[in-house]
Structures are given as structure tokens and as C-alpha cells.
């Protein structure tokens, strides 16, 4: 049963930050509640106050701004599925969002809420690392941009300060001759392994100019795997394809996979390799 709590409804980021600063660990930001309220109903966490940030305007838009796609933290997964800006510039994120959890979660769950709750079996964090996204965190008098790969600290932990609010996500518009793919494997709605690949070809489309690889869901937090990228970057597409098994095992080891009822550590590491190969091929085919 959900215990009693007080609902604060601020209308600006400054007010949200002030409330967070004032009430500390007894308060929590409420952005969609699909995960937070479940945990509260189970009695796993208790907060005296929830700070509903859905009254803060301007945080639920997707737009193009200075060569980047800016996604408001309060955009629901469903909004992202339908966004014309994303469909045109980043269709791989639309595909990911179409497959997040279930229709009820997608209707109310927000991208910002998903990232801040930092549940290990979530898709967006892994994807955002591969596409070089930055996360915008604001508090009363300041604003900073955090690279997606530095945002997650551990399971259920981010680098946000106690009075900081995630207000948006900035993703560079993919360059010409580039491709992005996110693939996951799991049981029903719960991904056990997720792999994202974003690559750009150069040399007339014959070699891998830039590549970013991220793995998630298998371990405590998503992780960018630069060691695996180094095995493919600058290589001809044929040579990179040959190096995929090695890159897969490097990425598998980096995933910090945890054995559980959904598979052993070794099994998940193997799946990382399989998904990396497929995601690479899918991204390549888009170039």
C-alpha cells in the first residue's frame, strides 16, 4: 500500500531545486512515477514528499537546436515514439522507444525519469551513450552538461547532485553516412542485455571513421566500451567485420554482467558479442 506523502507542485526548475535542497533525502522528484511509485507501494522506499515536476513548462518538447536534437526530460516514451523530429533524424531512438516496457509505461513514463531512476535493466542510457548524448542538469543558479557515459554511477545511482534536476537531453544530429542501432535480448519486458552501436563511415564509405559502442542491462549500469571501439575504428569495413568477435568478447567482459535467473554471467557476455555483431551490421547497412 502506498503510504501518505505530501505532493509539492513547483512551476519552475529553480523551485524544484530549492525544494530538493530543503528536504534532502526525504523528498524525491516525481516525473512519471512508473518505477518510483511501484517501489513506494512495495515499501522499498519511503519519501515524505514527492516533487511533481510536470507543472514545469518547456520540459516536454523535442526540437532541433544548434545542430542537435534537444529532448525535454519530461517527454514520455510515447511522445518520443511519435516525434517527427526523431523519426526524421534519429529513427533508431523511435524504434527503441516503441519497445520500452509496455504501452501503459510508455504513456506516462518519461525519458528523464527513466534515466534518473537508473534501473539497470533500462534501454535509453545505453543508447544515449553510443550516440554521444549529453544530459543537462540544472539547479537554482547553475546549469551543467554531463556526458551520458559519466551520468550513471552504479545501479540506481547517478552523478546528479542532491538539488540538481535533469531538464533535458542533447543528442548531436547524426552525420551523413552514419548509422545507429540498438538491440536487446531478454524475457518479456525485461531486457537482460542491450547493445548500442553508432558509426560513421569515411574514405568513400569504405572504412569506419568513428564508432561508439555501449552495453547495458547485463551489469549494474550502462557502459561505453572504448576498448571494443578501438578494434573497429579506422579499419576497413571488411577488417572491422573480421574483428567483431574480438570486439564482442571485449564488450562482453566490460559489461560487468551479473549472473541471475535470466542467465549466467558467461551467457550474457556471449549475448553481448552476438548483439554487437548484429548491431554493427544493422548500423552499417544504414550508411
Amino acid at each position: 500500500m502506498l503510504r501518505r506523502f505530501r505532493l509539492e507542485e513547483p512551476e519552475s526548475v529553480r523551485e524544484v531545486s530549492e525544494l530538493l535542497g530543503r528536504f534532502g533525502e526525504s523528498a524525491k522528484v516525481y516525473a512519471g512515477g512508473t518505477e518510483l511509485l511501484l517501489a513506494m507501494k512495495e515499501g522499498l522506499v519511503q519519501y515524505e514528499r514527492l516533487i511533481n515536476i510536470k507543472r514545469v513548462s518547456g520540459l516536454d518538447e523535442v526540437k532541433l537546436e544548434n545542430g542537435a536534437i534537444k529532448i525535454g526530460a519530461l517527454c514520455t516514451h510515447h511522445q518520443l515514439e511519435l516525434s517527427p523530429v526523431l523519426r526524421q533524424n534519429l529513427p533508431a531512438l523511435v524504434k527503441l522507444e516503441e519497445n520500452v516496457a509496455n504501452v501503459r509505461v510508455r504513456q506516462v513514463g518519461t525519458l528523464g525519469g527513466n534515466l534518473c531512476f537508473a534501473e539497470p535493466h533500462a534501454d535509453p542510457g545505453t543508447f544515449l551513450m553510443a550516440v554521444g548524448a549529453t544530459l543537462i542538469a540544472e539547479k537554482s543558479a547553475s546549469k551543467r552538461e554531463i556526458a551520458a557515459e559519466r551520468f550513471f554511477v552504479d545501479a540506481y545511482e547517478t552523478c546528479l547532485e542532491a538539488d540538481e534536476v535533469l531538464t533535458g537531453i542533447k543528442v548531436p544530429v547524426p552525420a551523413p553516412r552514419s548509422g545507429v542501432a540498438y538491440l536487446k535480448f531478454g524475457y518479456l519486458e525485461r531486457p537482460s542485455v542491450g547493445v548500442a552501436v553508432a558509426l560513421t563511415l569515411n574514405g568513400g564509405g569504405k572504412s569506419v571513421g568513428d564508432i561508439k559502442i555501449a552495453v547495458g542491462c547485463a551489469g549494474p549500469a550502462p557502459k561505453r566500451v572504448e576498448e571494443a571501439e578501438a578494434l573497429l575504428k579506422g579499419k576497413s569495413t571488411d577488417e572491422a567485420t573480421q574483428n567483431l568477435p574480438k570486439a564482442g568478447s571485449v564488450a562482453g567482459a566490460a559489461a560487468q554482467a551479473i549472473s541471475d535467473l535470466h542467465g549466467s554471467q558467461e551467457y550474457k557476455e556471449h549475448i553481448v558479442g552476438v548483439l554487437l555483431k548484429r548491431a554493427f551490421q544493422s548500423a552499417l547497412s544504414q550508411c
Binding site: 522499498l44 545501479a155 551479473i258 549472473s259 535467473l261
Partner: protein
């Protein structure tokens, strides 16, 4: 969940053995453990275990019972506690062995940890990882304390 660890300590076996039985020193090595009390010397102890994974926090008032003891060699103990606020229980079976090897002491322990109740909703993997971290920190802390003042 089963965990096994072995710590190589550059200290004589007697010193390690005495350290284990010094409740205050020993408890100081267990991350999140506080308010340790001796209920019955050499047999029953109590302490409170506080652990945190992100926003999830549990507090287990715990009773530790020494089941078997072979001086300077082995201790078998059992700890159990419940967090009624979160609705979870914890049970730990612990087998500790000491052996001497080239002027060092090898302290090995096997722990079987059971977490029951709502906390299990966090998932086996996350709980196992947390327990692993606690045991690693404990092992390093014991080694540091015993070697630090040898």
C-alpha cells in the same frame, strides 16, 4: 547465495584469532555494521546492519550466534535479522577457517546469504553484487587493521 573469500594476512594466527573475538575491532571492519553488543561472551552477539543500494535502504537488527568453535582454527556462526519497515529478512551462515602458512595466516570464509521478502524485488544480481562488495570491503579492512599495527 554462496560466497567464498580467502585473505592472506601478514600476522601470526593468534593475533588474527584474538582480533576476530574483539567485537569492537571486528565490527568496525564490517561495512554498515553498528551498535554491536555482546549478549553472551563467546556465544551470542547483536548488531545492526545498514545497507544501501541507490535509494533503497535496509536496516537489519541482527543476532549473531556462534554455533561451533575450535580454538585458533575454526568458527561456525549464524546471523539473522529482519527489517520490518521494508518487510525483509536476512540470514547468513558463516564458516571461518584459519591456517598458518609461511609466517602468514590464511583467513578463509564461506558465507551463505539468504535475503527474503520485498527486498528480493531488487533482483538476485544486484543483491549478490552488493553482498560481494561488502565482503570485499570487509576483507580489505581486516587485512589493513591487522597488518597496519603488526
Amino acid at each position: 547465495m554462496e560466497f567464498q573469500k580467502e585473505i592472506e594476512i601478514h600476522a601470526p594466527k593468534e593475533k588474527v584469532w584474538n582480533f576476530i573475538w574483539d567485537v569492537d575491532q571486528f565490527i568496525a571492519c564490517v561495512p554498515g555494521c553498528k551498535e554491536a553488543k555482546t549478549l553472551e561472551e563467546g556465544k551470542r552477539y547483536s548488531a545492526t546492519m545498514v545497507e544501501k543500494v541507490g535509494p533503497f535502504r535496509v536496516e537489519f537488527p541482527t543476532t549473531i550466534e556462534v554455533l561451533e568453535r575450535e580454538d585458533l582454527t575454526r568458527i561456525k556462526a549464524q546471523a539473522s535479522g529482519a527489517d520490518n519497515k521494508v518487510g525483509s529478512r536476512m540470514k547468513i551462515g558463516l564458516d571461518v577457517h584459519l591456517r598458518e602458512q609461511d609466517n602468514k595466516t590464511m583467513l578463509s570464509f564461506v558465507a551463505s546469504v539468504d535475503i527474503l521478502g520485498k527486498l528480493a524485488a531488487l533482483g538476485h544480481g544486484i543483491i549478490k553484487r552488493k553482498a560481494d562488495q561488502v565482503l570485499d570491503e570487509f576483507a580489505q579492512s581486516v587485512k589493513k587493521r591487522l597488518e597496519g599495527d603488526s
